[in-house]
């Protein structure tokens, strides 16, 4: 506590005022043609039609260093392309265009950073086109709720079913795993199931679903929690080869999955693997685990793969020329439909504001996904249990498909998921 503070203190003040952070400035977006927070009557910076106003949506994603950077980049990219297409097709209600490029921030998958960057952009956006990660989104959830900031998440955890401001698309991991077990009951008649999973909102969510389905089908169930990292899978492999379950439900990253499947198969394991969506990466087909994957692995998924033949998929492929196919694009694109539907409804209702958007979301009972998902996947009205979408599909490895997987069983709801009451996030129910 000495006078050397003058320098530091002055520097800090100078820095902050240079960034325009002096009190009172933060409501600045209200002036200059602002209609509501994050909505202006001025055109977007990259407007297609200069006569329309602009709706700003923020994106907070894991863009450089975090564990999901490899997925986050295509998701973010696809969402840019999605909204560009919306703008070219006449925008929202013929009056607004949507900008998702001005407020993109990197959260490094750190909750504190996520919150900081959210605070930086929250007074300038109407909603969030993407908020990636469960712990990160949890760090801003109170603020999202308090200010009615509608946000599209970039994960499928079952916790989102219980939040009004979060507009999720596709079934959660929990339902996905239930359907996988039910599918296996028909296809392979297993007697025992093992869930090999990461801890937390992703892995434990799916493992809980597998457990619920196993109990209903009277199967022997074991859960093996495994750490992330391909070289850390020794224990999971030992458990699989020692106990020889008929079916393994995998919820890990792609490299982990390759290590587990490849090494278990090499050690003589002959059962089936069904992995959740994020266990797959097309590059695994080039790995030494490829023969084992082709023989033993299927992928459950909340939506159809990249190469599918629907108007939505086609539009996506046209909007993203020259990219290496990756289902990150598919997810990012599909996640944007409910937000578009809600924006359309908001503008039509005349109440262009955060409250108006949230009200519009609450009245959505179907969303037109242009065939990518059934329209009832976009149900956000009613209570969580009624609104939970319960259809997933199963893919098999197919080298000729753009992302290496092709559908074996189209959208279906298994009996377990059908009869299950969503009364809280699944990941709490594992132990």
């Amino acid at each position: 506590m000495k006078s050397r503070y003058v320098v530091t203190g002055l520097a800090v003040v100078a820095l902050l005022s240079a960034c325009g952070v002096i009190r009172g400035d933060d409501e600045g977006s209200k002036g200059g043609g602002a209609v509501a927070t994050g909505v202006t009557s001025e055109p977007c910076p990259k407007a297609v039609d200069k006569n329309k106003g602009c709706i700003y949506l923020g994106t907070i994603s894991d863009l450089t260093q975090g564990p999901f950077a490899a997925l986050a980049v295509p998701i973010t990219d696809a969402q840019k392309a999605f909204w560009k297409r919306v703008n070219t097709a006449g925008g929202i209600g013929g009056r607004y265009e949507v900008d998702v490029e001005t407020y993109v921030r990197d959260n490094k998958y750190n909750p504190e950073t996520h919150r900081q960057v959210y605070n930086e952009i929250k007074d300038k956006v109407l909603g969030l086109a993407q908020t990636l990660g469960s712990p990160t989104t949890a760090a801003i959830l109170d603020d999202l709720k308090a200010n009615s900031v509608v946000s599209a998440p970039a994960s499928w955890t079952s916790a989102w079913e219980f939040e009004d401001v979060i507009v999720e698309t596709g079934s959660n991991y929990c339902i996905e795993a239930m359907n996988s077990v039910d599918y296996a009951m028909e296809a392979y008649k297993p007697k025992s199931v093992m869930a090999v999973h990461l801890a937390g909102d992703y892995g434990a969510d799916a493992a809980a679903g597998a457990k619920i389905a196993a109990e209903r089908n009277k199967l022997e169930f074991t859960a093996v929690e495994t750490p992330p990292g391909a070289t850390e899978q020794g224990r999971a492999i030992t458990e699989i080869t020692k106990n020889k379950p008929d079916l393994v439900i995998l919820t890990t990253g792609p490299a982990d999955a390759a290590a587990i499947i490849g090494q278990s198969a090499a050690a003589g394991y002959k059962g089936r693997f069904i992995g959740t969506g994020p266990t797959w990466n097309p590059a695994l087909l080039k790995s030494p685990a490829a023969p084992a994957l082709k023989a033993l692995y299927e992928q459950s998924a909340p939506g159809k793969p990249y190469g599918s033949d629907t108007p939505g998929h086609k539009a996506m492929r046209d909007a993203l020329p020259g990219v290496t196919p990756n289902d990150g694009y598919t997810s990012g694109w599909a996640w944007s439909y409910p937000l578009k539907a809600a924006l359309d409804k908001m503008v039509a209702s005349g109440d262009v504001s955060r409250k108006g958007l949230l009200a519009a979301v609450k009245t959505l009972s179907t969303v037109d996904y242009e065939g990518m998902l059934p329209a009832e996947a976009g149900n956000f009205s009613g209570d969580a249990n009624a609104a939970t979408f319960r259809q997933t599909l199963i893919n098999k490895v197919d080298e000729s498909a753009p992302t290496g997987v092709a559908i074996v069983k189209d959208f279906f709801t298994g009996p377990t998921a059908q009869g299950y009451t969503m009364d809280g996030p699944c990941f709490n129910k594992l132990s």
Partner: protein, 394 residues
């Protein structure tokens, strides 16, 4: 790690105390700020008038900022102040006592979870005792961490230098494992739990109220806490304990020969440092209201070390400056690429702004330490020396 504040004044020879020099608050001759006529002037908390005045001015200015700055800046600064408390704590064990610890994140975690468990409403998914008053959970969080520090300290008495650093690093990994597995306390990885609830005499400080917005309230809370902890640390450093720490740092065997009990003081250093870390942990996450076990990784420990090194080793003000530097570096690097037009904002292009931003963070730390290894404190010393000799400085 043997740098100290360079002595700027002549210390009185010890025998002068025995002479008939008045003790107590005697006046100093006007215009001779560095002439001490009593031992306790030399040992005062703030030993020159300039320090007293400027400290008061800065503290007042910092309080004043709460009505000047926008809420989001206040939140960033509030976080920086709490980190500063943690950095001061690390500086006590690493800077003053010379025991390099990479385990600070572990103690921060213990504080964070103690505070969270005490203050959360009971009956939830995770442990909660419903004691939301800050004056209950803050000291307990600090004490819990201090206890852990005291338990770890015996290892420290056996180890030195990098061995100690890596062992304390192991502590972080062990702690991370425990916190990830202990769902009932932490909510588990990726799920997390609510953090400590800052409530003071029935007033919730994390909600907008008649006294100000939540950011203003939290800012004032964190600033007050920082001032208290900083004063306490500075007071500690000038005491018998602080001098014992420095003796151990400079040469532990020599200190022992001089009659400083090594084990006792090393345990004490770890205990006090962990107390600071625990308090910082409990306060830090009450800003976001959410705490996840993945936060307490090696990265957090490293950030604290960086704060201490960048600020200046073995100075309280250096630790605070370092914490501000590191906390404000991220917002700064986020705004910098916007000024460079040729960097693409498109995430598919390399290099894009996000990569530049992350690289800048690393580069700025490297450059800073390459050009000023003594940290912000080193810069200050040079600036001060320049003006002292002005206009004859060279």
């Amino acid at each position: 790690m043997s740098e100290r504040e360079t002595p700027t004044k002549e210390r009185l020879p010890p025998e002068s105390r025995a002479l008939d020099i008045p003790t107590g608050r005697s006046r100093r001759p006007r215009g001779r700020p560095l002439l001490y006529t009593a031992y306790n002037q030399d040992m005062a908390l703030l030993d020159t008038r300039a320090k007293k005045v400027w400290t008061a001015v800065l503290v007042l200015a910092a309080f004043g900022l709460s009505v000047v700055l926008a809420d989001r800046s206040l939140e960033v600064l509030a976080g920086a102040y709490v980190l500063a408390i943690g950095a001061i704590g690390l500086n006590i064990v690493t800077g003053y006592a010379g025991q390099v610890s990479l385990g600070h994140a572990f103690f921060v975690a213990i504080g964070a979870y103690t505070g969270a468990a005490l203050s959360a409403p009971p009956g939830g998914r995770t442990i909660g005792l419903g004691l939301a008053e800050i004056w209950i959970w803050l000291p307990v969080a600090g004490l819990a961490a201090a206890l852990a520090g005291v338990l770890v300290a015996p290892l420290a008495t056996r180890l030195r230098g990098l061995y100690l650093a890596v062992v304390t690093l192991g502590l972080v990994f062990l702690g991370e494992h425990v916190f990830k597995e202990w769902d009932a306390l932490t909510g588990g990885p990726g799920v997390g739990r609510s953090a400590a609830v800052p409530q003071l005499f029935g007033v919730r400080l994390d909600q907008d109220g008649p006294l100000g917005t939540r950011e203003q309230l939290l800012y004032l809370l964190m600033l007050t806490a920082l001032v208290l902890f900083a004063l306490a640390a500075r007071n500690l450093a000038r005491s018998r304990i602080g001098r014992a720490f420095m003796a151990i740092r400079d040469r532990d065997i020599a200190a022992e020969v001089m009659g400083v009990p090594l084990t006792r003081y090393k345990v004490l250093a770890f205990g006090i440092s962990s107390f600071y870390a625990g308090c910082a942990g409990a306060l830090l996450y009450s800003i976001t209201g959410f705490v996840e076990p993945g936060s307490f990784s090696l990265l957090l420990s490293v950030q604290f070390i960086a704060m201490v090194l960048i600020g200046g080793v073995a100075t309280v003000s250096g630790a605070i400056a370092g914490a501000l530097f590191i906390s404000l570096l991220q917002p700064l690097t986020r705004s910098l690429p916007a000024l460079v037009p040729f960097v693409s904002g498109d995430t598919t292009v390399t290099p894009n702004v996000f990569q530049v931003e992350t690289v800048l963070y690393g580069l700025l730390i490297i450059l800073f330490l390459v050009f000023e290894p003594r940290g912000l404190f080193g810069i200050w010393i040079r600036v001060r020396a320049y003006w002292k000799a002005w206009p004859f400085s060279y």
